[in-house]
Amino acid sequence: MDAVVAWFLDPANWTGTSGVPNRLVEHVILSGLAVLIGALIAIPIGLFIGHTGRGAVATIAVGNLGRAVPSYAMLVVFVPLLGLGFPNALAALVLLSIPPILTNTYAGMREVDRDMVEAGRGMGMREWQLLRSVELPLALPVVLAGVRVAAVQVVATATLAALVGGGALGRFIADGFALQDRPQLVAGALLVAGLAVITERAMTLLEQRTVSEGLRGSTRGPTPADLAPPAPPAWPSVGAG
């Protein structure tokens, strides 16, 4: 343990390309970009499917497939196409982030009380108004739960990117294993675990803040996202990458 503290106190580990700040920035940029692109792809598709009810079977299939293909394998599969490094890692992580976001967006939309949609329709709302002002606000917490699950999973898997020539915080762990350097190994693990837990907490807070005002303080039961592992339609929660 002293050796780990010494590792953290060594200024050499805080400067340059292989310093903690640079690796942390690499990790956050890689993960953030992947989740952003994944969300930009998955949320519109999920909203469309949820609103029209078309293509539900395909959505569920994508969700199940995403569950069966392990994250580590994703990183390896694209190497022949994209080579080692950032593009490969980004492509793999984007693909990884899509199933949870898509599944939860669809689940969130399907959860929306049909009566509310009908009421909106009765008030003369157009389809896109219904989507924007009724369905999306009501579904938002579940959608964001999907983004949270994806984000934690991506942060975890970005660590594995180091095993296929990527940078980011996983570098410390991969090098620690390779060099039998225990302090570096444990320090890397602490950094990665810390980042994952912080990501999870931050996303949970964001989720809670976006609960529609109309639903706040109501006696509504837990959303499917709260029950993420048990509820079959929603994503089985978080990373395990």
Partner: protein, 211 residues
């Protein structure tokens, strides 16, 4: 294809067996441990929060980091791999078993009490069987997740098919990489289907009601 199988079939078969053993131990131990934890929660509801919080934190820690913590303590061993794998099954299983028990109708519980069941008889004879569909759902998720995670335990030398994938990767033998993945996904699908089937056989009443 035939060439690949002829040359690497043995390695793939060995990997498959190792993969099955690693997954079986992890899900088996994880399930036993989860049952114990759920029994504790059933006895004292106050434990639910802390137990789920700890399981949730374990679940959030990236697998590579978890193995990095474990290796200095337990070495590049089966024990390290299984500690990691078991800890990832806990959240899924505890939550599903609990959700299953909570879903049992209070009327049924009362009827069991009225028939003079003791607390244990009620749990084993009434509540757990009725919770089976959700328990099986949890086992399915835990099993498929574990099969995927065993690919990562290859990093600490306990990987089944992950080991085959790593070897293919270091030799730049992409056919071998893809073959190991195909076998792994096949294993995941087969395990999932088997659990669905087992769940159906164990809960005949759910179908009779539907029919």
């Amino acid at each position: 294809m035939a060439e690949l199988l002829r040359r690497n079939g043995g390695m793939l078969a060995d990997g498959l067996v190792d993969h099955l053993v690693l997954t079986g131990i992890a899900v088996g131990v994880g399930f036993a441990l989860s049952l114990v934890l759920v029994l504790l929660i059933v006895r004292s509801r106050r434990l639910a929060g802390p137990i789920i919080a700890v399981a949730g934190t374990l679940y959030t820690i990236p697998s590579l980091a978890l193995f990095a913590f474990l290796v200095p303590v337990t070495g590049l061993s089966l024990v390290s791999a299984e500690i990691g794998l078991v800890s990832y099954t806990l959240l899924i299983l505890v939550r599903n078993i609990l959700a299953g028990l909570d879903g049992v109708s209070p009327d049924v519980v009362e009827a069991a009490d009225g028939m003079g069941h003791t607390r244990l008889q009620r749990l084993v004879g009434v509540e757990l069987p009725l919770a089976l569909p959700l328990i099986v759902a949890g086992l399915r998720i835990a099993t498929v997740t574990t099969i995927g995670l065993v690919m990562v335990t290859a990093v600490i030398g306990q990987g089944g098919l992950g080991q085959v994938m790593l070897r293919g990767f270091s030799l730049r033998n992409w056919d071998l990489v893809y073959a190991s993945l195909v076998v792994m996904v096949g294993l995941a699908i087969a395990a999932d289907l088997l659990l669905v089937l087992a769940g159906r056989l164990l809960t005949p009443w759910t179908r009779r009601r539907a029919a």
